[in-house]
């Protein structure tokens, strides 16, 4: 109850603020699920953006003196609703949007933004993608109006399979994913790359389940068990991942899980001690990567929003890079900002983020880490108060993470 009151108070305060300084503001529409099965993921992302804008931009002078602000638009996780929300945002005067949860929604947005910009060259819109990882978004379907700040699925799987190349314990792999673009891509790349790098490994299962609708993963766990797999590869995120690992824990399934997203948003809590030494993730950052400023930022964030844990370093990277591009462009016109953003090399806590000009895909260092008992030098912080945290097993340099692109970009 207390939280609700606080929230409504915050909304009122926000409205008052928005009303008082409507002119002096750079606003970005955050189009992501704020209700439905992935509401927790969407809420965490929005808090991340607001906090990053406040601490990393507004308190350091803002954008040419103006404040950067993120406003939530609930797309309920659906591509159709994303387009409706985009229209609503444009009608309200937004020229910048960001989205991340679900490549289906990202596809819908990139199409809608391309069409809008072709028809309204004087009112263009720019799309910052912080988490939708379908490789086609920066390959066949790449757009001048789209920038991706997360490594794409192909890059992630390349890094994971390179890591697995030397892992002789792995004999049988089970691939499970959500039944939409992202899940299909993960399965496709995992199979292709394993076939090349590990001919001895057998893929004993390859399953897709309806996204956001499975509440009981026990039948899938029974199937994984029956397949005799020793390693599970999954691109699942949000509750689809936490419920999966929870069911695995309940059935005492003793396989390794190699994931993209086990590091946050409730999954560490769902695993608890059962994930120790068994769950791996590939990310651009985790709490035990030694950093200068991010550590403090994350600790402050966790204190400020109890129950939500800082998870997305790429949100911080994106907010700073966008602010820098706007400042350097000396203009708030999306086209000028896009031109300033492409080819930008930005120094962040983990190294350098390079926004490749040819496809607008960010290149950054990546980390493979394993869930391990917290304490000691390597696992200084635990994850989500579980007593277990992430220990780095491998670091992939920005250069090694790069892959060629098939993008042929139409430039305005």
């Amino acid at each position: 109850m207390k939280q609700r009151n606080f929230r409504s108070l915050a909304i009122v305060a926000g409205l008052a603020l928005a009303a008082s300084s409507a002119y002096a503001q750079v606003k970005i529409a955050y189009i992501d699920p704020l209700s439905g099965p992935f509401a927790n993921v969407g809420e965490a992302g929005l808090k991340g953006f607001k906090e990053a804008a406040e601490i990393l931009v507004n308190q350091k002078g803002g954008i040419k003196g103006q404040k950067l602000e993120f406003v939530g638009f609930d797309n309920k996780g659906s591509p159709q609703e994303s387009q409706i929300q985009l229209k609503a945002a444009i009608d309200q005067g937004f020229r910048y949007i960001t989205q991340g949860n679900g490549s289906g929604a990202a596809h819908a947005l990139i199409d809608a933004v391309n069409k809008w910009n072709a028809r309204n060259p004087d009112k263009t819109v720019l799309f910052f993608n912080y988490a939708a990882v379908d490789p086609t978004l920066t390959n066949e379907k790449c757009s001048f109006w789209h920038f991706r700040f997360d490594a794409n699925s192909e890059m992630k799987m390349e890094a994971i399979t390179n890591f697995l190349e030397g892992d002789k314990k792995m004999k049988k792999v089970f691939i499970i994913g959500q039944d939409y673009a992202h899940g299909h891509q993960v399965a496709k790349y995992a199979k292709e790359m394993l076939a090349k790098k590990r001919k001895d490994v057998k893929v004993v299962g390859d399953d897709l389940h309806p996204i956001g609708r499975v509440k009981d993963f026990a039948p899938y766990i029974a199937k994984i068990k029956a397949s005799g797999a020793d390693t599970v590869i999954t691109g699942n995120w949000g509750n689809d991942l936490s419920l999966l690992v929870k069911a695995a824990k309940d059935a005492k399934l003793n396989t390794r899980f190699i994931t993209y997203y086990a590091g946050g948003l409730g999954t560490p809590q769902a695993m608890g001690a059962s994930g120790e030494g068994k769950v791996l993730q590939l990310t651009e950052w985790h709490m035990n990567v030694p950093t200068k400023d991010t550590e403090k930022f994350a600790l402050d964030f966790n204190k400020k929003y109890p129950g939500v844990w800082f998870y997305y370093l790429r949100i911080n990277n994106m907010v700073q890079m966008v602010a820098k591009a706007m400042n350097e462009a000396k203009s708030l016109d999306p086209k000028e900002v896009a031109l300033a953003l492409e080819d930008m090399r930005f120094k962040v806590d983990t190294g350098e983020v390079w926004m490749r000009k040819s496809d607008h895909q960010a290149m950054q260092p990546l980390y493979i880490s394993i869930f391990a008992k917290a304490g000691g030098k390597n696992v200084k912080y635990d994850s989500e108060g579980t007593g277990y945290g992430w220990k780095t097993l491998a670091t992939i340099s920005q250069r090694d993470s790069q892959l060629p692109t098939a993008c042929i970009m139409e430039r305005p």
Partner: protein, 312 residues
């Protein structure tokens, strides 16, 4: 073998939970002729009430109090909502329950927010009950089975062995006669509606923490519950029981079967053309659709359901 046994256990647990939900729905339908579209909303209310109680005084009091609260809400809805709507016929009733489902969802949004709440399994039940072929069977699933079977036995005893059960059964087929004998039939209706929603509430209490407590949970089970009632036969408790277990097992086993439609047709000697997307779909991918296919088949071939008494 291991897969079959574990899947059977999983299927039965899920089926029993579905039965708890559908028993109330079918009871209400058989007594009052009302198809309660808001039934799954009471399931959700049960979970949220139990969550709220568990944050205050723990899980166990909630197990008892939350269903009673849900039943009270249900009884009030019947007394002050449905009974009025009833005067305007079945369509008005149907629309009333349909609207109620949305109202409940919005109320849940307002009170508990749009994000899932952290409703946890109590520590006492968080462990392994037994290990079969080195797959652990969680204690909580055993507890779910126990509660559902206990509820089934209690419900059966209530309906067949007690005086109130006799009157309810009589009111089911001959409400005018029962009224003529001096019983307050509207009050019986209120009790049945309250009781039916309380059963849904109980399912919510034990289902909410086994899976997840979120505003979408009502919609997630809402349609499947109707499938069960239709397949089992509208108004038949026995039918609902069999249909629940059947659907529970279908959903569990279909996930495990990696054979494709082509393979299925090959079994009966029909060769399908290569390369078609549809033909390559596996049973696992079809799993979410299968219960609805079953419902359609039942409606075509046996419209009164497996054990339904009436044709319409």
């Amino acid at each position: 073998m291991e897969f079959v046994v574990i899947s059977l256990l999983n299927g039965i647990t899920y089926g029993l939970l579905l039965f708890m939900l559908s028993s109330g729905l079918t009871l209400i339908f058989s007594m009052m002729g009302i198809l309660n579209f808001a039934h799954a909303s009471f399931y959700m209310l049960g979970a949220y009430f139990a969550y709220q109680i568990s944050t205050l005084v723990g899980f166990w009091p909630g197990l008892l109090v939350a269903p009673l609260l849900v039943g009270a809400v249900g009884a009030l809805v019947e007394r002050y909502g449905l009974r009025r709507a009833h005067r305007f016929g079945h369509v008005a009733e149907l629309l009333f329950t349909f609207g109620l489902a949305f109202v409940v969802e919005e109320v849940v949004h307002l009170i508990w927010g749009k994000v899932a709440v952290d409703y946890k399994i109590p520590d006492e039940l968080d462990g392994t009950l037994f290990t079969l072929f080195d797959t652990a069977f969680p204690m909580y699933r055993g507890f779910m089975m126990l509660v559902s079977v206990g509820m089934l036995v209690a419900l059966y005893a209530l309906l067949t062995r007690t005086r109130i059960g006799l009157i309810i059964q009589a009111a089911l087929t001959k409400p005018d006669m029962v009224e003529a004998l001096g019983h307050n039939v509207p009050r019986i209706f209120m009790l049945v509606f309250g009781g039916g929603t309380a059963l849904a509430g109980l399912a919510g209490v034990i289902g909410g923490n086994a899976f997840i407590t979120e505003p979408g949970m009502a919609a997630a089970v809402g349609s499947i519950v109707f499938v069960i009632v239709v397949v089992g036969g509208l108004g038949s408790l026995g039918g609902a029981f069999i249909a629940s277990l059947l659907i529970g097992c279908i959903q569990t086993f279909s996930v495990g079967l990696s054979i494709s439609i082509t393979d299925v047709f090959a079994l009966i000697g029909v060769e399908l053309l290569e390369g078609s997307q549809v033909a390559r779909l596996t049973i696992t991918q079809l799993a979410p659709v299968l219960p609805y296919l079953l419902m359609v088949a039942i409606l075509i071939f046996r419209p009164r359901g497996l054990m339904g008494a009436r044709e319409n």
